[in-house]
């Protein structure tokens, strides 16, 4: 019963997060926002922040907290709205998204007092930082875990694979990478740009690999469960870029775009109609 409640909670939160993403993207006006890459990580972020990671919202710098790093910094909107759902940041904080000189820019900027562990934006560097934290945690006998969320396009960066080798060699079983596999990147379909077999690659590097429907809260929850091997773990989450809004789904145009008044109303109506029920349990 409790388990079902948690699943339901994450699903409800996902709906609310999508609404907030749209609200903030609309508020950002002509600055534009990375809307599609945020909508694809909503359920991943909901599961992480509402059940998987061990954090203390009233004490963001608690030493034993799990570390979450958004390596795909352009997923910032999906990150901020999850932090809000978890009680890490206030509504005022959230609504300061993309305000000039604010703490919540288009890509996250490290701010431990707000619970932001890592500055994202330039791809291919979060996993090395996470591997360094995981190595240090093992050395210091700390039991917390490190989670790094990357995009599938981000895997084009060679530096990612340097970190992949390091983590395996050093048996960083306290490190979990999550791949938001939405099959798209800035210029379009990943299949057309750099076609790789992501699962086979991670497996060949010796990581513990699992795959999941990245919009199915229950499947994600199972995937995040304990890693009993000596190896670092990767969860390949199959997602849809722009998930939940028909005109944004799988559209290159919504990698980064401006949400006008009309489109905002259209998108909100779609969300209200589905009510988030399509994920089921």
């Amino acid at each position: 019963m409790i388990y079902i409640d948690i699943i339901k909670k994450c699903e409800m939160a996902s709906l609310s997060m999508r609404k907030n993403i749209l609200h903030l993207a609309h508020q950002a006006g002509s600055n534009g926002s990375h809307v599609g890459p945020a909508l694809s990580i909503v359920e991943i972020m909901a599961v992480l922040y509402l059940q998987t990671i061990n954090i203390n919202p009233s004490n963001p710098t608690w030493e034993l907290r799990d570390r979450f790093l958004l390596s795909k910094g352009h997923g910032a909107l999906g990150y901020y709205v999850a932090m809000y759902e978890a009680g890490m940041i206030s509504k005022e904080d959230l609504y300061s998204y993309e305000v000039n000189g604010g703490f919540f820019p288009g890509q996250p900027s490290k701010n431990l007092s707000l619970g932001i562990e890592y500055s994202g934006g330039s791809l291919g560097m979060g996993l090395s930082y996470g591997a360094g934290i995981a190595w240090a945690a093992k050395q210091k006998n700390e039991k917390f875990k490190v989670f790094v969320l990357m995009g599938d396009g981000e895997l084009n960066e060679g530096s990612v694979w340097e970190s992949v080798m390091f983590a395996k060699h050093n048996k960083l079983s306290n490190l979990t990478a999550i791949i938001d596999k939405n099959n798209m990147q800035s210029d379009g379909s990943s299949e057309d740009i750099i076609s790789i077999d992501i699962e086979a690659l991670w497996r060949s590097f010796g990581w513990e690999v699992s795959t999941s429907d990245g919009h199915n809260v229950k499947q994600l929850t199972e995937a995040f469960k304990q890693n009993n091997t000596d190896n670092p773990k990767v969860i390949i989450a199959n997602t849809i870029k722009g998930k939940g809004i028909s005109f944004m789904e799988n559209s290159k145009d919504w990698h980064h775009n401006r949400l006008t008044d009309d489109l905002y109303q259209k998108a909100l109506k779609e969300l209200e109609k589905t009510g988030g029920a399509d994920d089921g349990i």
Partner: protein, 323 residues
Amino acid sequence: MEFKRTIIRTLSILGQRGAFGYALTEIAKINDEIIALTADLCTTSGLDRFKNAYPERVVNVGIAEQNMIGIAAGMSSLGYIPFATTFANFAALRSCEQMRHFMGYMEENIKIVGFGGGFAMGMFGITHYGIEDIASIRSISNITILSPADGLETAKATIAASQFKGPVYLRLTGVMNHPIVYKEDYEFEIGKAIQLKDGCDIAIFSTGGMVHQSLQAAKQLEDQGISCKVVNVHTIKPIDKVAIYKALDTKLIVTVEEHSIIGGLGSTVAEVLSEIKEKPPQLTIGVSGEYKPAGSYEFMLEQYGLTNNHISEKILEKYREAI
């Protein structure tokens, strides 16, 4: 840490790399947070002594410099003080963005040791020469750049870097049997240049292995009746502006570095002078022009005009124009 004369001699024999390894091992005895990282260059980095003493505190990331910077940054977030080592150009050029991201932007407390600055790698060739590293790193905010003059100063700079809270790039130059600049222990303070010799006609600002050459060049000029002040600029960033202001009453300001004349010490001094109305002319001595054929360390210094004889000749020529 006390440095007796015998140790100073040993540090000179070891060269800057060996002196760094010696100092880091000594610091590690009293500071458990010191970690050494290498990108498959443990021996070349002078880290064998450290590894023998603290094998569990050496992390070899393989030939992956970009990853090394990120890993060091992650470690520092849990209180470690990582010293990540590789050739100067691999650190500053291949990992330039990682240095900008983790050291400049995120301000992680990591220390990057770039050895083989200048032409120390000799026959390894142009790929291994560190002659653009200061230029690339200097434009990044929040990174302190240290460039010691000899073995003893390398040890002192290593200690200072370990105690300093913030990102540091420690640039090492020269080969083994490094000429001694400091025969006795002295006070080293980050950001405070050291006047090694007084003089009134010319002020020579020098850094790294060029400090010794500059002292010799100054002696040659003295023999011709020209009085030279020599200043060791062991900290390139932040630059000691006061030391430069003190040279404004000379007839010529000279900078000497084993680095491109674009973006290094010469440029730094020129930037300070550019704010001043009345100032002496400046001569920038360093690496200029095309990549010349590779050779031994001594050959390369000769080829680029960075020996004491060449330095004194260039200064003399410019001085005659200036007066």
